[in-house]
C-alpha cells in the first residue's frame, strides 16, 4: 500500500536555510545540505527546497546547492521558488532535482505547465498554490502569487483542477491563512482540493503539533504533509511524527533504525 509522505521543507535564501513566519521575519537556520541529510537519515520521504533568493542572478548558488544535496541525499528532492521559464525547470532538473515546483509563473503562463509536463513528465512538475480564504466566505479561497503579496482573484479549487488538467503531477497547497501560525492545516481547503482533483496533494502551512499532521492526512485527505518549523525548531523529529502516525493507523514508511 502506498505510504503517505512526510516532507520537511527548507526555505533557502542565497544558499542558506531561513524560516519564514507568514513570509516575513526570516532568520538564518543553517546549511541546507546538512539539514537535508539529517532529515533524510531521520526518515523524511522527500525534501523540499523553496528558494526565496530575490535576485535571479544568484541562481548559480541554488543550482550548486541542489547538486550538492542530490549527491548526498538518496530521497527525492523538490525545488521551487523563482521558477519562471522552461530554462529554470531544465536547469534545476539537470542540477539533480527530481521535481520542480512552479507558482507565480503558472498563473502568468499556464501553458508553461503543459509544456513542462510534456517535456519532462508529469511526475517532475509540481504546481504550488498559495491560497487564502476570501474574507467572510466559509469555503472560498483565492490564489496568491509573488510570495503571497498578490491576489490573483483566481478560485483556488478551479485553479487546482485546471493545473491537474494541464498535466501537473502534484499540487503543493499552502494555506496563507495558516502558514506560520502553528494552528494546523486548513482542513476544509485541503479536503476541497483533494476531492476536486485526481493527482496527489501536498498539504502545507500551519503545522504545530503531531495531531495537525494526522488531521491533514486523514480529515484533509492529503497524500503528503509538508512542514517546516516543527522540524527546524526541534519540536519534533520526522521519526516522532511517523511513530505517531503509525500509532494512529496511518500508513507511512517507518523510520529506519540504524
Amino acid at each position: 500500500m502506498l505510504a503517505k509522505r512526510i516532507i520537511p521543507c527548507l526555505d533557502v535564501k542565497e544558499g542558506r536555510v531561513v524560516k519564514g513566519i507568514n513570509f516575513v521575519g526570516l532568520r538564518d537556520a543553517g546549511d541546507p545540505v546538512e539539514s537535508a541529510q539529517r532529515y533524510s537519515a531521520g526518515g523524511a520521504d522527500e525534501i523540499t527546497f523553496l528558494d526565496i533568493t530575490a535576485s535571479h542572478e544568484n541562481r548559480r548558488t541554488l543550482f550548486d546547492l541542489v547538486d550538492r544535496t542530490a549527491s548526498t541525499v538518496a530521497v527525492p528532492l523538490t525545488v521551487g521558488g523563482g521558477v519562471r521559464e522552461r530554462r529554470d525547470v531544465s536547469e534545476l532538473l539537470h542540477a539533480g532535482a527530481d521535481k520542480v515546483s512552479i507558482n507565480s509563473a503558472a498563473v502568468s503562463n499556464p501553458e508553461l505547465i503543459r509544456e513542462m509536463a510534456e517535456a519532462y513528465g508529469a511526475q517532475a512538475i509540481v504546481v504550488a498554490i498559495d491560497a487564502k480564504r476570501v474574507p467572510g466566505a466559509a469555503d472560498r479561497w483565492t490564489v496568491y502569487t509573488h510570495g503571497g503579496r498578490r491576489d490573483t482573484g483566481l478560485d483556488a479549487i478551479a485553479w487546482a483542477r485546471q493545473m491537474a488538467d494541464y498535466g501537473a503531477g502534484e499540487i503543493l497547497l499552502t494555506s496563507m491563512d495558516r502558514d506560520g501560525t502553528q494552528d494546523g492545516y486548513d482542513l476544509l481547503l485541503t479536503r476541497a482540493v483533494v476531492d476536486a482533483i485526481s493527482i496527489p496533494v501536498v498539504a502545507s502551512g500551519g503545522v504545530g503539533t503531531l495531531g495537525h499532521v494526522h488531521e491533514g492526512l486523514e480529515a484533509g485527505g492529503a497524500d503528503a504533509a509538508l512542514a517546516a518549523s516543527i522540524f527546524h525548531d526541534g519540536h519534533y523529529t520526522v521519526a516522532e511524527v511517523k511513530e505517531y502516525l503509525l500509532d494512529h493507523g496511518v500508513c507511512v514508511r517507518p523510520p529506519e533504525r540504524d
Binding site: 520521504d45 549527491s71 548526498t72 539537470h94 502534484e170
Partner: protein, 209 residues
C-alpha cells in the same frame, strides 16, 4: 569481487546524476555513457529509466541496444531500473508498435484508470511514492519500502522471473531476476538506506540467480 567499474547506460532521456552518485556512494567508479565500447568494458552495467518507452525504444534501436543485448548474453551483471526493467520486454502499452529489447517475453501494461484500494478509495496514476515489496529473494528485503514513480508495470510471460510483488490496487511485478539480470520497477537511488543496500548487493557477492 570489488565494486569495480559500473557503466550507466545514458540514453539522453534525463538526468542520471543521482543514479551515478548512488553507485559512487557504494564505492563503485560510475561512468555515464552511450558508447558501446565504454559500456562493454565495464564490470557491471546499469540501465536506469527515465522518460517514455517510445524514446527509450528508439534510443535502443541502434548500437546501444546491441551492446546491452551483448552484455546480457555475456553473463555479466546487469541492473535495470524502472524503464531499464521495462525495456527488457517485448512491448509496452505506452507506445504500441515500438519494440523493447525482447530479452524476456512479456509486455508492459498501464495501471487501470479506475484503480481502487482495499477500502474502495480511488488510487492515483502515476503510482508515485513509497511502497512495500513482498519478496523472498536474497537481494531484496521482504516488506521493505522503496520509492516508485511509474504508470506502467511489467507482466512477464514467464512468471518464474518475478521475484518481488507490490500492491497498488492489486499485486504487480516490482522486480525480476534471472541469471545475471536483475531489474526493479522502483528507484534504488531514491530509496534511501533500502536502496543503498540493494545497490550494495548488486555490487557485492550476493548471488541473485
Amino acid at each position: 569481487m570489488t565494486a569495480g567499474r559500473v557503466a550507466i547506460v545514458d540514453l539522453g532521456l534525463g538526468n542520471l546524476h543521482s543514479v551515478a552518485k548512488a553507485f559512487e556512494r557504494a564505492g563503485a567508479a560510475a561512468e555515464l555513457s552511450a558508447d558501446p565500447d565504454v559500456l562493454l568494458r565495464a564490470d557491471r552495467l546499469v540501465m536506469p529509466g527515465q522518460g517514455a518507452f517510445r524514446e527509450c525504444a528508439h534510443a535502443l534501436a541502434g548500437e546501444v541496444g546491441e551492446a546491452v543485448r551483448t552484455w546480457i548474453a555475456s553473463g555479466r551483471p546487469y541492473l535495470g531500473i524502472c524503464l531499464g526493467m521495462q525495456a527488457l520486454f517485448d512491448e509496452s502499452d505506452e507506445a504500441p508498435g515500438e519494440k523493447g529489447l525482447g530479452i524476456f517475453r512479456g509486455a508492459v501494461r498501464r495501471f487501470a484508470t479506475d484503480l481502487r484500494d482495499a477500502q474502495g478509495r480511488k488510487l492515483k496514476v502515476p503510482h508515485i511514492g513509497w511502497n512495500q515489496i513482498e519478496s523472498r529473494h536474497p537481494v531484496f528485503e521482504n516488506d521493505e519500502w522503496y520509492y516508485f514513480v511509474h504508470s506502467y508495470y511489467c507482466v512477464p510471460a514467464d512468471e518464474s522471473l518475478v521475484v518481488a510483488m507490490t500492491d497498488y490496487g492489486g499485486p504487480f511485478c516490482s522486480a525480476i531476476a534471472r541469471d545475471n539480470v536483475l531489474a526493479c520497477q522502483f528507484h534504488p537511488e531514491k530509496s534511501q538506506h533500502a536502496g543503498a543496500r540493494l545497490i550494495g548487493h548488486f555490487l557485492g557477492d550476493v548471488a541473485w540467480s
